[in-house]
Symmetry: C2
Subunit: 148 residues, 2 copies
């Protein structure tokens, strides 16, 4: 089995996409992260769900987590407002994991090796210059267990 058969059709966002829309896709599909492309559709980075969560936390709370407890419920209700008007590119952290990129004809072991080396929860599958899908770590485990 090759990467192209393992790949799933996953939502992809670009650097210029709306940050709100990216959060919605992560939430709706319960994804561990999204592949972020440049304007030409080339995969460029991974946006982990935990990074978007990080963005929601006010900076004074990041500096002193004990302050989170003093926010009242009504303030907490508006925690997602921070995403309004932001672009996906603004959410990507410098320390985000490097995106694992695999070729359409890579084997399951090759995909696993690249994912393992980068400690990346997902891999973008490329056929030449085209992104044809994504393989998550849990999808790879599913395929590895079925094949046993």
């Amino acid at each position: 089995m090759h990467a192209e058969q393992m790949a799933e059709d996953f939502p992809v966002v670009s650097h210029d996409s709306d940050a709100w829309e990216a959060a919605r896709l992560l939430a709706e599909h319960r994804l561990p992260g999204l592949v972020v492309t440049d304007r030409d559709g080339h995969p460029q980075a991974i946006l982990p769900a935990s990074q978007v969560v990080r963005f929601l936390v006010p900076s004074y709370v990041q500096d002193d987590p004990s302050l989170a407890g003093v926010l009242n419920e009504s303030m907490a209700d508006h925690v997602a407002d921070k995403l309004g008007g932001r672009k996906v590119g603004e959410l990507i952290a410098r320390e985000s994991p490097e995106l694992a990129v695999v070729k359409a004809d890579d084997t399951i072991v090759e995909v696993a090796a690249i994912m393992a080396r980068l400690r990346c929860p997902l891999a973008a599958v490329m056929d030449g210059g085209n992104l044809i899908g994504v393989i998550t770590a849990s999808r790879l485990l599913e395929l590895a267990l079925i094949r046993r």
Copy 2:
């Protein structure tokens, strides 16, 4: 909304659980990771799906990823055999992310702050000494977006 209302009933494994079973749970529920407890049921660590993938990769391939390409299909078919007879405790890496632990009455901002600080894709929700559920980063986003 408090953490206890945000928590979902997620599969939990202990240090002594079968590694194969842990991989199956990650695959079946498409989870980014599992909460690992000690024998008394106290959450102790997180087992990311990418860490289990890492375990599947033969050590000589980890040392030299170009060797993955020379494994033939029949060898690749048995990649999951490495999990046989192993315990979950053997899969947990020293460099695994620290488990985010939150209290049942923590608010969404408190949960987000802890998850963000530890860059952890999930948080264990404790009511006193009892694990009552798990909140993933994508679940937290879902709740934050709904509440807006």
